[in-house]
Assembly symmetry: C2
Homo-oligomer: 254 residues x 2
C-alpha cells in the first residue's frame, strides 16, 4: 500500500524541495521504494538530484497536458531506491492551459494510479503558490506534509494553506489528512526560532514532528553537487535529522 | 518624476519582501517620498510594516477587481515618508478572477496613474510566481529589481524570469528595464555564496549592485517587531547595506 504525500506551503523558500529530496533519500536508506514527483516549474528537485534538464525529453507537463503515461517520463536517479518524475520549464504554462480543461484538478491523481503501487512512498514537491498545480497535488495525495521555516513570516500564510486543504477535502479529496508539520532552518542562536517553534506547537500540537531540521550549510551545498545530504555529508546534523524524520514518517504510518 | 520599480523573482524566499520594506525605508531616510504596493496574497510587506490586517478594510484586491480608487486604500505607515497599499487574503482569488477580465494585465498600471506622481519611488512587492499579479506589476513598472539569494537554486529560475520580462517588454510594456540585480543572504563563511556571486556577475555584469546584502539575523527579527531594520537595529550590517543600496538606486536614476 503506497502513501502519496504532497509537500506544500505557498510561503517561498521554506525547505519544500530540500525536504522532498532528503526525506526521499532517507526513506530509501530505510529500505523503502520512493517516487518523487517534481510539479514545480522551477524544477529544483530535478536539478537538485543531479538530473540535467537538457537530457529530459518528457516531463510532468506532458503527463498533465498531453496525457502521456507516467511510466514513459519516469526516471531512475543516482540514489538507490528513488525514482523521479521530472519538471521542465514548460510546466509554467500548465497553470493557464489547465484552466480550460474539464476536471483539471484530477489529472495528477488519475495519472498516478498506474504507478503508485510500485512504491511505498510518493512525494510531490509543490511550487510556492496555491494554484492549480498545488491543488492537483492535494487532490492526488493521501496526506500533506507542511514544512515551516522558523522565521516571522512563517505563521502568516498558514491560515490560507489550511483553508485550501479544507476546500480540497470538501470538494476534491475527502480523505486528505495532514501527514505532519516540519520545522525547518531552526537556528538555536536566535530567540525568533524558539518563538516560532512554540507558536507552531501550540497551533498543530501532536502533528508537529519531534525531529526539527536545523539551519545547516551542508544542506544548501548538497544540491550544487546533485546529491542528497546523505551522500554529500552523511555525518552532518542535516543528514542525521532527515534520517530521523524518515523514521518518524515510517512509524506514524504503521 | 516618479519611478515604479517591481521587486520580482519567482524563486521563493530570496528577500523580495525584506528588500521592499528596507529599501523603501532607506529611500525615505535619504529624503525620498515612497509608496510600497503589496501585491502578494501572503501580505508579508503589510504585516512586516506593523499593519494589523484586521484593521485593513480595503486593499489592492479591491483596486484590481472592484475598481476602487487607489487613494481610498492608501495607508500611511509608522515610517516617516513611506505609504503603503496593503494586501489581504482575498487577493489569492485575484489570479482566477482576473482571467476573464479584458486587458487584465493593465489594471495596476491604470490605477497607479492617479497616485504615482506624489512619490519619488513606487516599489511593488511581488509573489513567488510569474502569474497575473507579477505580470501586472511588470506592466505597471518602469523597471524591475531582481533579488537573488546566494544559494545553488538561485540561478535556476533566472532564465524563466528574464523570459517573462522579455514577453512583457514585447507585448505589454516596451520601456520595462532591469533596475538592478541584488545579491542577498550572502554568507562569507561558505564557498557557495562566492560561487553564486561570481556566476551572477558574469551573467548580469554592470546590472549587479555593488551593495551585497549579507545574511544577518537582525533582518529576520525586524518584521516580528513590525519595523524596518533602520528602526529595529540601525547599527547592524543589514541596516547599513540597505542604506548603501538606496544610495546606489538613487544615484543610478540620475
Ligand atoms: N535546513 C537548512 N539549512 C540551510 N539551508 C537550507 C535548509 N533547508 C533549505 N535550505 C536552503 O534554503 C533555500 C530554500 O530551500 P528550498 O529551495 O528547499 O525551499 P522551497 O520551499 O522548496 O523554495 P520554493 O518556495 O522556491 O520552492 C535553498 O537554497 C536550500 O538549499
Ligand atoms: N539578508 C537576510 N539575512 C537573514 N535573513 C533574511 C535576509 N533577508 C531575508 N531574510 C529572511 O528570510 C526569509 C525570506 O525572506 P523574504 O520573506 O523577504 O523573501 P521573499 O522573496 O519575499 O519570500 P516569498 O517568495 O515567500 O515572497 C524571511 O524570513 C526574512 O526575514
Ligand atoms: Mg522548491
Ligand atoms: Mg515576499
Amino acid at each position: 500500500m503506497s502513501r502519496v504525500v504532497a509537500i506544500a506551503n505557498q510561503k517561498g523558500g521554506v525547505g519544500k524541495t530540500t525536504t522532498s529530496i532528503n526525506l526521499g533519500a532517507s526513506l530509501a536508506y530505510h529500505g523503502k521504494r520512493v517516487l518523487i514527483v517534481d510539479i514545480d516549474p522551477q524544477g529544483n528537485t530535478t536539478s537538485g538530484l543531479g538530473i540535467n534538464k537538457a537530457d529530459v525529453k518528457q516531463c510532468i507537463y506532458d503527463v498533465l497536458i498531453n496525457e502521456v503515461q507516467m511510466e514513459s517520463v519516469l526516471l531512475s536517479t543516482p540514489i538507490e531506491g528513488v525514482d523521479l518524475i521530472p519538471a521542465r520549464i514548460e510546466l509554467a504554462g500548465a497553470e493557464i492551459e489547465l484552466v480550460q480543461v474539464l476536471s483539471r484538478e484530477h489529472r495528477l491523481k488519475r495519472s498516478l494510479q498506474r504507478v503508485r503501487d510500485r512504491y511505498d512512498f510518493v512525494l510531490v514537491d509543490c511550487p510556492p503558490s496555491l494554484g492549480v498545480l498545488t491543488v492537483n497535488s492535494l487532490t492526488a495525495a493521501d496526506s500533506v506534509l507542511i514544512p515551516i521555516q522558523c522565521e516571522f513570516y512563517a505563521l502568516e500564510g498558514l491560515g490560507q494553506l489550511l483553508n485550501t486543504v479544507r476546500i480540497v477535502q470538501k470538494h476534491l479529496n475527502k480523505r486528505l489528512e495532514i501527514e505532519g508539520v516540519l520545522l525547518t532552518m531552526y537556528d538555536a542562536r536566535t530567540n525568533l526560532s524558539l518563538q516560532v517553534m512554540n507558536e507552531v506547537q501550540k497551533y498543530f500540537q501532536e502533528k508537529v514532528y519531534q525531529t526539527v531540521i536545523p539551519r545547516n550549510v551542508r544542506l544548501s551545498e548538497a544540491p550544487s553537487h546533485g546529491k542528497p545530504i546523505l551522500e554529500y555529508a552523511a555525518r552532518s546534523r542535516g543528514a542525521q535529522c532527515y534520517v530521523d524524520l524518515a523514521k518518524e514518517v515510517i512509524h506514524n504510518g504503521q
